[in-house]
Subunit: 170 residues, 2 copies
Amino acid sequence: MALGTGYDAQGCFLARALEVVGERWTLLILRDCFYGVRHFSDLLAHLDVSRGVLTDRLDTLVDAGVLERHPAGRSVEYLLTEAGEDLWPTVFSLSRWGERHLTADHPGRIFGHAVCGTDIEDSGLCPRCGTVPTVRELDVRPAPGRNARRREDPVAIALRTRHRMLDPLP
Amino acid sequence: MALGTGYDAQGCFLARALEVVGERWTLLILRDCFYGVRHFSDLLAHLDVSRGVLTDRLDTLVDAGVLERHPAGRSVEYLLTEAGEDLWPTVFSLSRWGERHLTADHPGRIFGHAVCGTDIEDSGLCPRCGTVPTVRELDVRPAPGRNARRREDPVAIALRTRHRMLDPLP
């Protein structure tokens, strides 16, 4: 895996998982995939990552079975596999943690259970249904507040209104 | 924060959170803190990390309000703050993901809801109580299976039997 040695002597699945998703930018790339971003050029425009790093991370994620490349006309789409979708609780919980405990000059995002219209709790639980919805069952909208880090790329613009997670973006 | 620039233009709390916990080794250090490891020397013996990196990561976590230093005799203990304990869902979900989707030559761990004795689900839900227990309510034990990465440091030995999370270790 990408990180090579270092965690090898840790007999722990957290260490194994970090060998796949622990590199810089990887979880932010996956965040965009969960929003529904599928094309290299859109990832590049929405993330402040170099072309080389993005290529390397996507290769690692494809090799690990987290993303799959699908032909799309003259281009290629990157789609989350089932294993990839299962990383949602990690991305969600870390985002929630940041929103709860860190300060920033931008608003957070609110996730709702699409089938019942109820916002989910920080634990991931839908308080109305008593279940923990998968990412396929969620929509996302920005929380109110001024965004000092407002961006004008197509993905950022599309995410200013309510969006069903995983639906193609932008 | 430790990672400095790079994620700065990402108006996203996942990026903010990764500025605190996204560096190599940080989540593995926190894993040990959740088990109840409190001393620098025990972290150093249980993790394959250099003294310098461990010092740097602990400083970052203390500065960010995730860990607190407490005097303990002639030594110092590192204890999770409330914000630190809230990182448990991230550590848990990523460990679960590794156990579910990656292969390794070591067993995983099983987490149980201490008050009712029921093992929690991958989503974190206790199926008997219908709640998502906090780390304070969990115990941990090794899953069965041969461990090709068996270690003989005091923390590893103590974790071979059922242990209440956060209780001092070793």
